[in-house]
């Protein structure tokens, strides 16, 4: 039985009817059509589906869409403002932190959440903050460099 829900994603309200067992990931991708949030393990192990809910990074495969009502959901598509890239996005591009790109949206959102809370993190804090986001291409080196560079820029 489908249920009518309202979700606030990237500042816009979407009204849709979904089965109560649908995950937030499924509804973001299939009903709302924002596919930047990636589907991978569906078990909360890889972080590819990371979105920010009220500023906190969450594996959207582990939360039901109906539970996400009344919250502010940010996906990768909502990150830049007024056509400008977020400093973390810019740093990922400039530092070669993106290879196949499948883990990238989740990593960028985890990094944004970290910098919002802790604008000048240490390398160890960066590593911890992204340890739930798996990447197989980069070895994380350039990702960590990019996040530290973005933090320095933001701090100026």
């Amino acid at each position: 039985m489908k249920q009518q829900i309202q979700l606030r994603v990237n500042g816009e309200v979407y009204e849709t009817a979904v089965e109560p067992w649908k995950t937030l990931l499924q509804v973001i991708r299939e009903d709302i059509g924002l596919t930047g949030t990636k589907e991978n393990c569906n078990m909360g192990e890889c972080g590819a589906c990371t979105v920010l809910i009220d500023g906190k990074p969450v594996n959207s495969c582990l939360i039901l869409a109906i539970e996400a009502q009344g919250k502010d959901i940010l996906t990768i598509e909502g990150l830049g403002q007024d056509g400008e890239l977020h400093p973390v996005q810019q740093a990922f591009i400039e530092h070669g932190a993106i290879q196949c790109g499948f883990c990238t949206p989740g990593l960028i959102l985890s990094a944004k959440a970290l910098l919002d809370k802790n604008p000048q993190p240490s390398e160890a804090e960066v590593r911890r903050a992204i340890s739930g986001n798996l990447c197989r291409c980069t070895g994380y080196t350039k990702i960590i460099e990019a996040i530290l560079a973005a933090s320095k820029k933001e701090g100026k």
Partner: protein, 769 residues
């Protein structure tokens, strides 16, 4: 050295913006009108005869639009090489050969209905005896997996040079031991999948994350009996490959059959479990290695025998059995050399290429070399320098090494890591180790080695580049734009890329065989030079100069000696169209060494000829900390001094090496698959059970690019795809040896392996002194 505008510069990749903002579409992101969702029913038995499949209940379920079994296919066998066709998709030969083998597939209006339909398919199996251990599979009387392979020996490589028996007699010291390396999952972050859309006029459109669209198109055309020109493989973003996405797999085969049957588009996306357990894996190896050396450290003889667990099907068996030899013979000069590899069928997931196969043998060799060095009292870096190959060497296989810097990489890695100050001098429990590795641009692929590129222009001076090269995530497409932009004197952002799709693009080996820089970038350079010549021929009379005196830069064509005299490129393009001579650049190349030297037939014993188009080489150093109480190994620092030819984009080269190194670190220390010995089921097919490195497991990495200028590669470039992974296992094992004085003979080096090695005071065996 020549000064370039873009080549050798750390330029951001052209594909990174779409990936950073989430607009890059992978196969699972593509939705077509009236698209159905496909799912595959998999065999619960490792080895069984299919007696009957009843799909009637599934077909009757509302929302189910098509069900297919092997009977819906033409029943043709598939193999990566036409010399071994041993895989029947959907078990159309009536036999399942591993847990997860594809038995049937359904397409339905949504995934839930498709899942429900799978449960309604009744399959009657006659369970057959199965075998999982390659050594047991070789015994007389073991269950026979393929009729064509007695004792399940699917493939054998054998070659020798000099006289190894004589060599061991001449050696002062001889060492012999057995090493084992487990299977590996590629773990591309994007789950595997395929989207098919069949039009009743006979045209099949597909979207597949593949490493070479041309190879895959041919296989699908053959398996489905659809003419090549009617099979279209559309470009889409690809979330990783690492050797696992060249084989044709059940996803695309089933999606195509279902789409043909349902008359609607069908998308199949594997779960993570399916991607790990039923897509592809990397072979495991049991390596019996014997090496002999003189007292001064000169290597005299080597005898290596490898037994590989290849799983249910042959896949890219030729390369799997030969690559370890190719990389083994290219590092050190060892006059007497014998090599044998057997690839054994077992009732487990089929194994494809994975990064560089040679790394398992290289681990054994590099670890044994450190024992030899220790016994002889020679520094490990010195013994490698003493035996290292040099540019100009002709290998046992008669392959010539044209550009090579192994000795320089040893010296640079040692200098950067503080080797002299650290080796043997770090506090107990900490150690530093070094190992050499080799890579190569390209093995022989016949006409598929050819890369051709076309460049056409828009009236505003911007250009569109057509190339069949595939970008699986490594940055190949950006590299092509960088090369074209360099030659044409326009920014990379002025170049639109049309890649991968064989319907639109001229041929290329794709991302297969590490050929992208060596051949595809060269073809693009030739195409751009061709266009440049057409442009200068039009401009020369306008400015009353010779074409050769003209330069293309900053979107202008001008006289080199007098840059003020010039015309905007856009004007030239428009003029060319106006005078009926539109500019289209074309470039084409095939690696000269291989096309001229001919191919060493790998089906023959002792193949000789140019085995790889060109070789890369390097040295990896690891610094580790070992907890002798828990057996846990932590890698703190790594230095990668590697030769890639000319680094077209150093930032991309470093990224490739860092990624290859961390994956290899995972294989060395963390990644271990477990199989249920009774059921043959892979029980570790998740990220929770199969541990790949996280950001907390990775060391500080210092990449050091050692450039050689290859005579044939574009700007001297060779490859930087995966070579750096070949030095990692040896470097870590040797650092552990330095830290705690014992040697490990298995990968992954889990805490249990360390504790066992400590308890046994394990070292590689010396059999002659």
């Amino acid at each position: 050295m020549q000064d370039y505008t873009l080549i050798g510069k750390r330029v951001p990749r052209t594909d990174s913006l779409a990936k950073a903002i989430g607009s890059a579409k992978y196969v699972g992101d593509i939705v077509l009108p009236r698209m159905l969702y496909g799912k595959i029913l998999r065999s619960p038995h490792p080895h069984a005869k299919i007696l009957n499949i009843d799909t009637s209940k599934a077909e009757a379920l509302p929302g189910v639009r098509a069900v297919v079994t092997g009977k819906d296919s033409l029943g043709l066998p598939y193999g990566v090489s036409s010399t071994k066709l041993d895989q029947y998709f959907l078990c159309s030969d009536g036999v399942t050969r591993f847990v997860g083998d594809e038995v049937a597939a359904v397409a339905a209006e949504d995934e839930d209905i498709a899942d429900e339909a799978l449960n309604l398919i009744d399959v009657e199996y006659e369970v057959l005896p199965a075998v999982f251990d390659p050594l047991k599979a070789m015994e007389e009387g073991a269950p026979q997996i393929h009729d064509s392979a007695p004792r399940n020996i699917g493939a054998r490589a054998f070659t020798h040079s000099g006289n190894v028996d004589e060599g061991f007699r001449e050696s002062d010291y001889v060492y012999e031991d057995r090493f084992t390396c487990d299977r590996i999952s590629h773990v591309q972050m994007e789950p595997y999948g395929a989207l098919a859309s069949y039009d009743p006029t006979g045209k099949l459109d597909m979207w597949i994350p593949s490493s070479c669209f041309f190879i895959k198109r041919t296989a699908l055309s053959y398996l489905l009996k659809i003419p090549l020109k009617n099979v279209r493989l559309n470009e889409c973003y690809i979330g990783g490959h690492f050797g696992g996405r060249t084989d044709t797999q059940a996803a695309e085969f089933c999606a195509a059959l279902l789409s043909i049957k349902a008359g609607r588009p069908v998308r199949i996306i594997y779960s993570r479990e399916e991607t790990m357990a039923a897509a592809k894996q990397k072979i495991s190896s049991v390596i019996d290695l014997k090496m002999g050396a003189k007292k001064d450290g000169t290597l005299i003889a080597e005898d290596a025998k490898i037994i590989m667990d290849g799983g249910a099907f042959g896949s890219s068996w030729i390369f799997q059995i030969w690559v370890p030899y190719w990389y083994s013979e290219a590092r050190y000069y060892i006059p007497n050399h014998k090599y044998e590899a057997l690839r054994i069928y077992t009732n487990k997931t089929s194994c494809s290429m994975q990064r560089y196969h040679g790394d398992q043998l290289l681990f054994a060799e590099e670890h044994m070399l450190d024992k030899i060095a220790k016994d002889l009292g020679i520094d490990p870096a010195e013994i490698r320098l003493k035996n290292a190959r040099k540019a100009g060497d002709v290998l046992h296989s008669k392959s010539k090494i044209t550009s090579f810097a192994l000795s320089e990489t040893i010296e640079k890695a040692a200098a950067a890591s503080g080797w002299k100050e650290k080796r043997g001098k770090l506090p107990k429990g900490r150690g530093i180790g070094l190992a050499c590795g080799v890579g190569a641009a390209g093995f022989y692929m016949g006409f598929r080695m050819n890369a051709t590129a076309i460049i056409k222009f828009n009236e505003d001076g911007s250009a569109t580049l057509f190339t069949g090269v595939v970008d699986v995530g490594a940055g190949n497409h950006s590299m092509m734009a960088q090369v074209a932009a360099e030659e044409l004197g326009i920014p990379m952002s002025d170049i639109a890329l049309v890649c991968s799709d064989p319907e639109l693009c001229p041929p290329a080996p794709g991302a297969y065989s590490m050929f992208a820089a060596f051949t595809s970038a060269k073809a693009v350079r030739l195409a751009a030079v061709d266009a440049k010549q057409q442009i200068t021929r039009i401009v020369a009379p306008m400015l009353d100069v010779e074409p050769s005196s003209l330069e293309l830069k900053d979107r202008r064509v001008y006289v080199r000696a007098n840059p003020d005299r010039g015309v905007p490129l856009a004007n030239v393009i428009r003029r060319a169209y106006r005078v009926g001579n539109g500019i289209v650049g074309r470039g084409s190349c095939t690696p000269a060494a291989m096309s001229e030297a001919g191919w060493a037939d790998p089906l023959r014993e002792k193949p000789e000829g140019q085995l790889m188009a060109t070789y890369t080489d390097g040295t990896t150093v690891a610094e580790v900390e070992v907890d002798e109480e828990t057996g846990k190994v932590k890698v703190n620092n790594m230095w990668l001094a590697w030769d890639c030819g000319k680094a077209i984009n150093p930032m991309a080269v470093e990224g490739q090496w860092e990624g290859a190194t961390v994956t290899a670190l995972g294989e060395t220390l963390l990644e271990k698959h477990e199989w249920d010995e009774k059921t043959g089921e892979l029980v570790t097919a998740s990220f929770l059970d199969y541990k790949i490195p996280t950001a907390l497991d990775t060391p500080n990495i210092t990449p050091i690019i050692v450039e050689t200028i290859d005579p044939e590669g574009p700007y001297g470039a060779k490859e930087a795809g995966l070579n750096a992974s070949t030095g990692v296992r040896g470097a870590i094992a040797n650092a552990i040896y330095d830290a705690i004085g014992v040697q490990v003979k298995e990968n992954p080096i889990t805490p249990e392996v360390i504790l066992k090695a400590l308890a046994e005071k394990s070292e590689i065996k010396r059999v002659k002194t």
